[in-house]
Symmetry: C2
Subunit: 353 residues, 2 copies
């Protein structure tokens, strides 16, 4: 039976990407070697790294000052790295959920954190308004909150002062990437398998703390070494490159965004229509990547899960910290799979409504 | 043409491992999902992590206090992590090459480093004798020096004070793993693809610095979360598990060691016999993993490389920092491939001797 994978991350990637990745492990480009046994200093891998970086630049329209890195570790590592590289005295954070909270925690090890706004008062089910305060080293936001299903609908321009965790919505919609000082994103949602994190750094923001940085956490050094101070996570970077090629082949982020809008409209319309379902996030803060919802009668949870499972739907359970349900509909999720979920929701209403 | 991959890392892995890894990307265990799209909290991945850890424990005969972690980043990240977690005031290091030098550099950011001995005076071509000084927080050694082709032939017991970088020879020979406080090893030589580092931590050595550690660099927290504080590098860990299963299926480290001895004997005997070749490392310090050598007439380098290439041999060039040649003959390298190299060496002598 065909599976429909709504997991929040690691998560669905295009089938063609899986096929190419699988083949590269047996024999990369008919070289007689597996990609996994090739030196990271080989021409082949240097080319992979270059392609991956170029695709990011093209897809997001970066400027010359914005450098693209693929480093090891996840966004959790980035929380500390970014503060270590940028926080001199005071930074401004907006707290929109678990990941923002963790980012704040790591930054507090380095300097003072001013929390401009938080949506914790309502279980992080909305994106709060905030006023940016001057004289901060940077402003940190989390563009999409995977666990709660909220997302900034757009961003004001704060220029290079803006640092943003885009782990779960990068490459899913158009935005002005040049407005950011640092964008980072763990690969395992819209880009690739777990094991690498994309950093897009405007190099003008670096070098201001006078801090003596450990080599692997030093963004200036990583730029200088083009992400290859040490052996990088070769395979996760390769698969990310394949996904970026796939996005480009579809027509880029603008095209992907149209399809993502169709998918999220389809699902939210059903949630709003269906008497047995209720959305978790407030309407004006809804995420187009992670659709969170509850049943009006929680006692029917097992029955709903069973219907999902019978239809081949997996990964639909909400995060352990909030419960309920969550359908992650990243770039690689076909609209047909979203329709399967909508069909189950309608059958569920017919049977239990 | 069959390739014989002598690369120093990323490097050869067993063919059966490539085949299983390739299949898991298309469909993991007939689940209808790729391994790359599965949640790291799924039963399947929790089982993979558990298996990988258990195999390490069994293959090396660890005790109850020794915890096994698979973290992101490479040994270069470990250089800083280990000092951050263990260095209170003073640590003792033995400098046997590029990687030791880098480890010392990162440790000096944290505290005082006493370099007990160094082989830098002779281009790191030997393992120096040293006397351990009391009152250090730990003693750090590099068991095998990939670039220079030197290796400690055995270790004295320093008990839990001993921290060792075993990136390029772990699982290649028997040793008393219980004699170490911390063993770490980047996966991409004897264990798996680039992207994860194995840490074997005697938990009794932790918690002594009173330092407030960033979450991702905190070994106590990583033990508490069983390497899953955040999303771990799923695929590199899975492939490492497959390689550990392969070692176990061959009869464990003891059996592998016998084959490794045969392979290195075959190659060193030819280097010592062949009038056109000269070993780089001093005989009593020779590595059984990385065999470094030069031509007596360096002008023949291109000719030798061409003969290697014609025989399907790749990755034989020495590290850019030392030049010459290097044959890395890790666990997965079949003795037949070593024989192909020896044959080329003999043909080379016939043609140019």
């Amino acid at each position: 039976m065909q599976k429909h994978n709504f997991s929040a991350g690691p998560s669905i990637l295009p089938k063609s990407v899986f096929e190419k990745a699988s083949q590269a492990i047996l024999d990369y480009n008919s070289k007689g070697l597996s990609l996994l046994e090739m030196s990271h200093r080989s021409d082949d891998f240097v080319q992979i790294m270059h392609n991956a970086q170029s695709l990011v630049k093209e897809l997001l329209g970066l400027n010359e000052n914005q450098k693209v890195l693929f480093l090891s570790g996840g966004a959790s590592t980035a929380f500390y790295i970014l503060a270590l590289n940028l926080l001199k005295t005071k930074a401004a954070y907006v707290n929109t959920g678990t990941w923002s909270t963790k980012a704040i925690k790591e930054a507090k090890r380095i300097g003072h954190v001013d929390t401009l706004a938080s949506s914790e008062d309502q279980g992080f089910n909305y994106i709060p308004e905030f006023e940016y305060v001057e004289n901060c080293d940077y402003l940190h936001t989390t563009s999409n909150n995977t666990i709660y299903g909220t997302q900034y609908q757009n961003f004001k321009s704060y220029k290079s002062i803006h640092v943003c965790d885009m782990s779960s919505d990068i490459f899913s919609r158009t935005f002005n990437a040049q407005d950011f000082g640092l964008i980072y994103a763990g690969a395992q949602k819209n880009m690739g398998p777990a094991g690498t994190t994309l950093y897009i750094v405007n190099q003008e923001i670096l070098g201001k703390t006078q801090r003596n940085l450990p080599s692997m956490l030093d963004l200036e050094l990583q730029i200088q070494k083009n992400s290859m101070f040490n052996t990088p996570p070769v395979f996760p970077i390769y698969v990310s490159m394949l996904t970026l090629e796939w996005i480009t082949s579809l027509g880029g982020v603008q095209q992907i965004e149209k399809i993502n809008n169709q998918k999220s409209d389809l699902l939210y319309n059903e949630i709003d229509r269906n008497a047995l379902l209720v959305g978790y996030a407030q309407k004006e803060s809804r995420s187009k990547m992670n659709v969170t919802f509850n049943l009006t009668d929680k006692q029917l949870s097992e029955a709903f899960l069973e219907m999902c499972s019978s239809a081949g739907i997996v990964g639909i359970k909400g995060h352990r910290s909030v419960g309920g349900f969550r359908a992650s509909i990243y770039n690689a999720m076909p609209i047909e799979s979203v329709q399967v979920l909508v069909d189950v929701m309608q059958d569920f209403e017919k049977q239990y409504g």
